[in-house]
Symmetry: C2
Subunit: 184 residues, 2 copies
DNA sequence: CCACTAACGCAAATTATTTGCTTTTGTTCA
DNA sequence: TGAACAAAAGCAAATAATTTGCGTTAGTGG
């Protein structure tokens, strides 16, 4: 049986993973990304390079794994007022995070890995947050866009701009939301 | 003066670039992507590895450059009938190309390079094609979405799905277009 | 507690990348 | 045209990263 797939909290495998992830985060925060190499990561994490190579394959996969972990939201969308307002606030924060230097880089890391699993993971996180907002609107009976509408017409344009162009502004985000709100 | 930025057609710099690009395309077509290395590319292109390193920096940059070149459209969108029909046909073909294994990989290559110039290049190509369709509609007086609407609500969702999820189908594409067409 | 095995460490072998220096090639100007 | 110049390429040595075989350690299940 594999220790890696679902490693138990205190196990050696989990400790190594935590140390390596931490090491990567530290290094990305303090040094130029081009200087972040597997031997250096290994040294800081007190493991052998071969451990990392065997476990993640290459730097891209490791960075994608770390980035996807960091993109996992820690909490539910904040409760401000109406479901629409909550949505606006959440999306604005989402857009800001993704458009920042770090966010942008994490997006790229996640997408550039050969294994697409981490990209799906990220998209899943976003959908999960949206689902929470939708459930909230349903409970209070407010009209609200569907998840597909939000993904296609709010999230997608934001991410596209970040990836290919420039950062989207706050008013741009609000316009996108206004467009998908029903019976406006 | 630099030979590289705007190399003259017959010059040495252009010959090297062509040979390297061709070599990359051949190798990507025939072998596993993980086995495509700079020394191998150099050998096949009859140049020394250091030439490639000096010129492109690393494999990711080279792949991004080649991918962006391949994503450059060779011709204007086909003229089928109405502007709307032309748009539908063009977008469907665009979506198919991007969703294919090769297209997907080219997208990733373009996005994973540290230098974002090639990503902008790609987005620029798309906008250029759309501009042609818009001009056509204007000339014939047909109602038509703006470029921003097309980028945000047709292109972006397609690319997002390709990058994070699965391939979009032909009917999905037509629905996206139906949604942005004015006075439907 | 013992047997089992996945994951790790170590070190040698291989392969990729960097770099200083030389040579080639194309450009410019007299 | 043809010399002077500059950019890019070649070559080879030095460095760094990656792979791999084998022994060891540490969780797992009986």
């Amino acid at each position: 049986m594999s220790y890696r797939e679902n490693p138990r909290p205190g196990g050696r495998s989990a400790r190594v993973q935590a140390a390596v992830h931490q090491s990567v985060r530290d290094m990305l925060a303090t040094m130029d990304r081009a200087d972040v190499t597997i031997p250096l990561i290994a040294q800081r994490a007190n493991v052998t390079p071969s451990t990392i190579y065997r476990r993640w394959g290459d730097l891209q996969e490791l960075l994608a794994d770390v980035a996807a972990s960091r993109l996992q939201p820690e909490s539910e969308p904040a409760r401000i007022g109406s479901a629409r307002r909550d949505l606006e606030v959440w999306v604005e924060q989402y857009a800001d995070e993704m458009a920042s230097g770090v966010g942008r880089q994490m997006l790229r890391d996640v997408l550039s890995a050969a294994d697409g699993a981490n990209a799906e993971r990220c998209s899943g996180y976003t959908q999960h947050q949206l689902a929470a907002l939708i459930a909230r609107a349903q409970k209070s009976g407010e009209p609200f866009p569907t998840q597909a509408e939000l993904m296609d017409h709010v999230i997608s344009p934001i991410i596209y701009r970040i990836l290919f162009d420039q950062a989207p502004g706050a008013d741009y985000v609000r316009e996108l939301i206004a467009k998908v709100m029903p019976q406006s």
